[in-house]
């Protein structure tokens, strides 16, 4: 089992990848997931996050098998 991490839009382009996989993670948080995968880049304050396709806060817990996403403010409509 692992945590699937997805990036969208301008954040995806900035990071140069659309997806990461975090293996062997125990109980963690959204912010910790970001730190582990992007140790050289603090989570930008305007970036939004989701856990299992619902909006989440940085301190929300994440478990094995979850899907985490990071993306810039939305601009649809």
């Amino acid at each position: 089992m692992s945590i699937r991490v997805r990036y969208f839009a301008s954040l995806r382009e900035r990071l140069g990848r659309s997806e990461d996989t975090l293996d062997g993670a125990r109980q963690t948080t959204v912010a910790q997931v970001w730190r582990q995968l992007n140790p050289d880049l603090p989570l930008p304050t305007h970036i939004l996050s989701a856990v299992n396709q619902e909006y989440a806060t940085p301190d929300q817990s994440v478990a094995d098998g979850d899907e985490v996403a990071f993306f810039p403010p939305v601009t649809g409509g």
Binding site: F8, A9, E13, Q53, F71, V74, T75, G76, G77
Partner: protein
């Protein structure tokens, strides 16, 4: 309360008309129908935009739209609601979004239609990427 994403250009007025007939809405209790259509403009922030690509988060986008519509259905006791949103590459003049609601009276219809549209703008995971001919850029925030 259907929520649909379309990969191809669509005619919102035809979609609305077909939906009404299919659900027999006009002949039933709904005295008020409010509809909003958003269309791609050929100019943004003073620059000519030759094409627009809408990226989305498959799965979450549909779920978020469904949550927004379900919230409005409950808050205003709507009879029905329909949301159609484009994804992919489009040209100026192409419709981007249709929000339509049906209710007994106009107050609920106007308010719910506006509410769904504003929630969609601020919460549904879509991102606009503009093609300006000689360069491209992400739209960083929505105008009010």
């Amino acid at each position: 309360m259907p929520v649909e994403l379309r990969e191809q250009a669509f005619d919102p007025w035809l979609s609305l008309s077909e939906f009404q007939v299919q659900r027999r809405l006009a002949a039933r209790r709904s005295g008020a129908t409010a509809a909003f259509v958003g269309t791609m403009r050929e100019i943004n922030e003073g620059d000519d935009v030759s094409a627009l690509t809408l990226e989305h988060y498959p799965g979450m986008t549909e779920r978020e739209l469904e949550r927004i519509v379900a919230g409005a259905m409950a808050q205003w006791s709507l009879d029905e609601a329909l949301v159609i949103h484009r994804v992919g590459r489009m040209q100026p003049g192409d419709p981007i979004v249709l929000v339509a609601v049906w209710s007994a009276h106009r107050k609920a219809a106007f308010e719910a239609c506006r509410h769904i549209m504003e929630m969609l703008k601020s919460r549904a995971p879509f991102w606009k990427h503009e093609d300006l001919g000689d360069r491209q850029r992400w739209v960083e925030s929505n105008t009010p």
